[in-house]
Subunit: 226 residues, 2 copies
């Protein structure tokens, strides 16, 4: 077991940017590794990790090499240390504060979403443009007016904005978040946002996910469509 | 403008499976093309489409070649026809019926989600294991008991199951969906599901999306973590 209290010095090369596709796989590895720890597993080979992630072992080794992690031949990776390395790389050694824009059903669901807080993301505030919603409680968080966004972001040191508005309001929500100093946005509105280049946006378009499933559903039903 | 009423015969080669990564990009192209139509655009080059999608033109041409669509040199792609081809490939010429398992906040949000119905996905039913929720309305749909799943799927010809339960209930929900004949599952619970190989699962782990953003947020704040 590696001592996780003192972070080892980080070689210069690691400050390079990791390819986007590899970044999206790091949370998958993290989920698998955390589960392995609860099962008492302390070492995993790249083959084992690849099998659990549904990837090939060469890709797993390449991804982990970006973390400076190369495993030990015949032994594999130290699971606890790899968890630490991935958390460090993803910035999960910090707790991040999140503001949700939009206190509708989706904002409500996201504020209550157990998968946020359990991963170190705390919903600091929910804001809405509708004064009738202001003051009501959503998932233990009092809804505030969107006009308070700047002071919320500054006072609570919020880093991440989540857009849970209708599509027509999403661009305006993004602009307000950017004006308040937010540089990382998770967008659930089914629309493409225009933001300055230094702002990172990840869009989760739930309808697109269903469209992708539609392809596989159709494959399961040959002849159904033509 | 191409006549969209009579689908052209589909060359044998197109019945091959499209690579998964290309499938995930088809809805992105579709969104861009639909927007172009509303703006009166009838032709788009692969360069233009690539620019709008944030991809390189060679990848766009390769993706569209799986549809049997090659564009015309110097003219580009016929937007309306490409929309038709993508919709055909994604199975969007059919309307798909959806059952949502879990009538909590997330199930509620998903049932109300405008991005589903506008894309031809109709939430046919919401089911929950909690009898206290049965009979209540969620987004215009009456909550039914999970014991009714088989009859709902059969009677309403439901094709897609959406899991919006807590993580601990998700595997059971998946098993019930599979037992009811569902072969396509969209999973929002932050857990890995075990399903038979003929069942397609897409997992949207909202916490993982935030973790990925954490990486970019940390890049924006050099030295914040070490």
């Amino acid at each position: 077991m590696t001592d996780l209290v003192k972070p080892p010095s980080r070689p210069e090369a690691l400050r390079r940017r990791i390819p986007d596709a590899a970044v999206t796989r790091l949370p998958v590895y993290l989920q698998i590794l955390n589960k392995s720890i609860t099962e008492g597993v302390s070492q995993l080979s790249s083959d084992q990790l690849a099998g659990l992630a549904g990837l090939n072992a060469a890709k797993v080794r390449k991804d982990l090499s970006y973390l400076g992690s190369y495993g030990t031949r015949g032994v594999g990776y130290d699971v606890a240390y790899l968890v630490y390395q991935i958390k460090r790389e993803l910035g999960l050694l910090n707790d991040w504060k999140v503001v949700v824009v939009g206190a509708g059903n989706l904002g409500n669901a996201l504020t209550n979403y157990a998968g946020f807080s359990s991963r170190g993301f705390e919903v600091s505030a929910v804001v809405d443009i509708d004064s009738a919603k202001v003051g009501k409680k959503v998932g233990g968080v009092v809804v505030r007016h969107v006009d308070d966004l700047l002071s919320i972001v500054n006072n609570d040191k919020v880093s991440i904005g989540v857009i849970a508005t209708p599509p027509a309001s999403a661009q305006r929500a993004a602009e307000l978040l950017v004006a308040a100093g937010i540089k990382s946005i998770l967008n659930f509105a089914a629309t493409v946002l225009t933001v300055p280049s230094e702002v990172s946006v990840r869009s989760v378009d739930l309808g697109m996910e269903l469209q992708i499933l539609g392809y596989y559903e159709q494959l399961n039903r040959p002849g159904a469509c033509q």
